[in-house]
């Protein structure tokens, strides 16, 4: 084969195969790089670059898809859990206890979402519990029940969702949550699986 012909073939192969690989690996790369960039503490994960100009293109794209219009860390930190304390996925068929001490922040809330990243339909119209409305335990700690069936206390209905996630929003958070190192060890709520049906 002559050289120019070889070059054209090689260029076409590179464009077609390379283009296809590049395009179809967008989603896996987004998840992979985001997963590598986040800080994890128990079941919770976040990126302190959310909303920031310093966010890398993969974090920025992931946030655009899964948390559009999120604020920067000085205003709000969004910690999301797709798993429980044992690292097992949060499932609608299981009952969970989310419990712990009130975080060091001006205002906070815990919200449940379905696998589509939207609020879970339920008859009670209850999608979250915030610090201003939840009932606290005598020692000042809190306990939220995430389940399909009703529970006494701070019940967060799971509706008919099959897969769940919860987001802990910390508005004007304390300094412990600002830094990657301290956030890794900061005290955050536990997500304990009680039973599955």
């Amino acid at each position: 084969m002559k050289k120019p012909f070889k070059f054209v073939i090689a260029a076409l192969v590179a464009l077609v195969i390379g283009g296809a690989i590049g395009y179809f690996t967008v989603e896996p790369m987004l998840n992979l790089i985001t997963n590598m960039s986040v800080v994890k503490n128990g079941p919770w994960a976040t990126s302190l670059a959310i909303g920031s100009t310093s966010a890398n293109p993969y974090i920025r794209a992931w946030v655009a898809k899964h948390g559009l219009l999120a604020l920067t860390k000085s205003e709000t930190i969004y910690l999301t859990a797709y798993v429980d304390d044992n690292g097992e996925p949060l499932l609608g068929d299981c009952d969970y206890r989310i419990e712990g001490k009130a975080p060091d922040t001006r205002w906070w809330s815990i919200t449940a979402y379905g696998s589509d990243d939207f609020l879970i339909p339920n008859e009670q119209g209850r999608y979250s519990w915030s610090c201003t409305e939840m009932k606290l335990e005598p020692d000042g700690s809190f306990r939220i029940y995430l389940s399909k069936t009703s529970k006494e206390g701070n019940w967060l209905p799971a509706g008919d969702a099959k897969e769940l996630s919860v987001t802990l929003r910390l508005y004007n958070p304390g300094p412990a949550y600002y830094d990657y190192e301290t956030l890794k060890t900061a005290e955050l709520p536990h997500i304990v699986k009680e039973e599955c049906k």
């Binding site: 590179a14 987004l30 205003e75 001006r106 205002w107």
Partner: protein, 333 residues
């Protein structure tokens, strides 16, 4: 042969990385564009006061049901944007998002210089003089984007009061260019704006309008229409058979989907070419928004030629001097 295979594999690798990065970089801009133009689909530079979020609202992913959101798709390509809002007693913030989704500013209730807070959004090449020392002047990295106010819903009982406070927010494009033009001395008869001209051969008239406005598609008895990129102000010229100027104006506003039309006192005026004309101001409701119109009409051959300049004050304030100046450029051969 092996050498060629090696180079081809390398080229595949480079193309794959490049394509991957280009697609990833374009995702935030594309999502913002779709959100603003298709999901929100409301005019720029206007507050939209959303009720508390439920599972039925599927506009933005992972919304917070504990917040009242006030949204605005901003467009400062022509003028700075002034926003004011009353701040309640609990957590509250106003924030801006560029087209690449970057959160380029956030001010909470404790950082606000005043209550109500005043924020003026400007482009890099715009200047805004803060005369009160209490205005937050924010330079936006992109001409378009989203402004969001978050108000914490402390309890269901507080909701009516918070909703009332939420709706006190205001928004207006600052007529910086118009103000600069007023300050600039002009020769007699010189227009305060760079003009484009519409010439109607059939009815023998011409009218001038700001050159930056975009021509639109006339409807009904309209023969011409053009509007600012922010959709208002909008100029229309209609030719209608009617007994009086008020009748002709009324028909025109009704044709534009108007209701609750109130036409003020008619006054007589003269155009630059000496033609007698009638003017009046009309207040009306256009597609649910309060509209204000400066109207000028001339009767020719049993028909009324009516020029109107209309705005929705929520978006762009009514400027009688400017609107009258535009309408008075109507001339007959």
């Amino acid at each position: 042969m092996k050498k060629w295979i090696g180079w081809t594999v390398l080229a595949v690798f480079v193309v794959a990385i490049t394509v991957n990065l280009v697609v990833v970089i374009s995702i935030p801009d594309n999502i913002m564009e779709i959100t603003m133009t298709e999901r929100f689909n409301f005019p720029s530079n206007q507050w939209v006061f959303a009720p508390p979020t439920t599972h039925e609202r599927r506009t933005i992913v992972r919304p917070s049901p504990d917040l009242l959101y006030s949204l605005c798709c901003y467009d400062i390509s022509q003028y700075p944007l002034r926003l004011t809002a009353t701040i309640p007693d609990n957590y509250w913030s106003i924030s801006g998002f560029a087209m690449n989704t970057d959160n380029f500013f956030a001010i909470n209730d404790r950082q606000a210089k005043s209550n109500p807070i005043e924020v003026v959004l400007v482009r890099k090449d715009m200047t805004y003089q803060d005369t009160t020392g209490k205005t937050h002047i924010i330079v936006a990295p992109t001409d378009r984007g989203i402004i969001l106010i978050r108000t914490v819903i402390t309890s269901k009982a507080d909701l009516p009061g918070l909703t009332e406070i939420q709706k006190k927010a205001t928004i207006e494009l600052v007529g910086a260019l118009a103000e600069a033009e007023v300050a600039k001395p002009r020769a007699p008869g010189e227009l305060s704006f760079e003009a484009a001209e519409y010439v109607d051969a059939e009815y023998g008239f011409s009218i001038k309008y700001p050159a930056v406005w975009m021509k639109g598609q006339p409807s009904g008895a309209q023969v011409f229409t053009a509007a600012a990129t922010t959709r208002v102000p909008v100029i229309t010229v209609g030719v209608r058979e009617a007994a009086t100027f008020v009748d002709a104006l009324m028909i025109g506003l009704e044709e534009s989907g108007g209701s609750d039309i109130k036409i003020g006192t008619e006054k007589q005026t003269k155009l630059a070419d000496g033609t007698e004309a009638t003017i009046a101001k009309a207040d009306w409701t256009v597609r649910g928004y309060p509209g204000e119109t400066f109207a000028l009409g001339v009767q020719k051959g049993g028909k009324w030629i009516v020029a109107t300049v209309t705005t929705v004050a929520l978006l762009v304030p009514y400027n009688e001097a400017k609107f009258s100046e535009i309408a008075h450029t109507l001339q007959f051969k």
